[in-house]
Symmetry: C2
Subunit: 193 residues, 2 copies
Amino acid sequence: MPGSGSEPAAPRKRADARRNEEALLEAAAAAFIASGIDAPVRDIAARAGVGVGTIYRHFPTRAELVVAVYRHQVEACAEAGPVLLAGAGSPYTALARWIDLFVDFLVTKHGLAEALQSDDATFAALHEYFLDRLLPVCAELLGAAAAAGEIRSDIEALELMRGVGNLCIGAGRDPRYDARRMVGVLLAGLRVR
Amino acid sequence: MPGSGSEPAAPRKRADARRNEEALLEAAAAAFIASGIDAPVRDIAARAGVGVGTIYRHFPTRAELVVAVYRHQVEACAEAGPVLLAGAGSPYTALARWIDLFVDFLVTKHGLAEALQSDDATFAALHEYFLDRLLPVCAELLGAAAAAGEIRSDIEALELMRGVGNLCIGAGRDPRYDARRMVGVLLAGLRVR
DNA sequence: AAATATACGGAACCATGTTCCGGTTGGCAA
DNA sequence: TTGCCAACCGGAACATGGTTCCGTATATTT
């Protein structure tokens, strides 16, 4: 029942606007795969068959476009947290598995890990969305593992997520660097000795 | 005795060229501190009181300028390796101290860690110089620690250096993220259990 | 002092992000 | 069905920053 409650009752958008937004999402997804999430605005617009103005109207910052493209996958990752915690043998195992999911996501999106850590104002909203959605999940897993005495308890979820995100930068560019393995080492370093 | 041997016998450069090169190094160092190593070429040129063409003539790529500015510090870091290995209580301690030096260097040069991992062709020479100079040192320390049975022996020096470099990205931008601490966790993860 | 090689400056060019406005059109009301 | 207008569109124009190029200036040599 959209429009009820205290929301501003967003008036249904025009049909062409909805079509263009949809086309832009598809075009952006394709461009991101082909050229990474830094794909030139004009390329994305051309793929979608619209003008550049239309991109900015629908997605004022690149971050919003990126979030829109990856929203489903981020949600899935967030929802996997509690499931893993309930199903895995131990909190630490659940944490490790969840981090694996996160890493898999990051390393398959060229440029995403870089953008997440960038201080470029363009990506502030991206940073924020990821943190809003995933930080609580990570904190819960981390807290559970700490409470179980499996890992040291002086590491914050934010530090861990940024550390993991950082380790994923450049993954896949140099076959000699295996981000997953380094993340594994980092997780091992969390364990109490 | 320059000019002897099989070298191309570089003919002494003109005096103004030497002056400008010196001025550029100072200007670049100042600009890097003020705006990070991505400081606009025009800014650096203005600080040095030269035209942009002069920058490109002396340092065809930004990487070469960066290398020239930081060469002394990189050399010092490289030379510290064997000293630490000889003086520290154990190879692992030496490795940890050396990584500390490396991290200190990276986190105080805004944008350097980012550039080191970037795939931007502009920075290829930077990457190469750091690896040429520091990788053998890291490998020696790592090998010694592994031989002493203090750490696992399946990690390559390149992986460790890239991992550490990655963890230093964004250091100092967010007080909640402490790169040094994360590097400490990574090193702890290296230990045999 | 003249000749030559070397180096210099900065305008011009290219790529990319961002803004703005004249023209177009979907949806509704008459 | 027709006509109106708010919403929407396209892309030219502008801003920024890297890179190239060439006419001019100057250090060095003869």
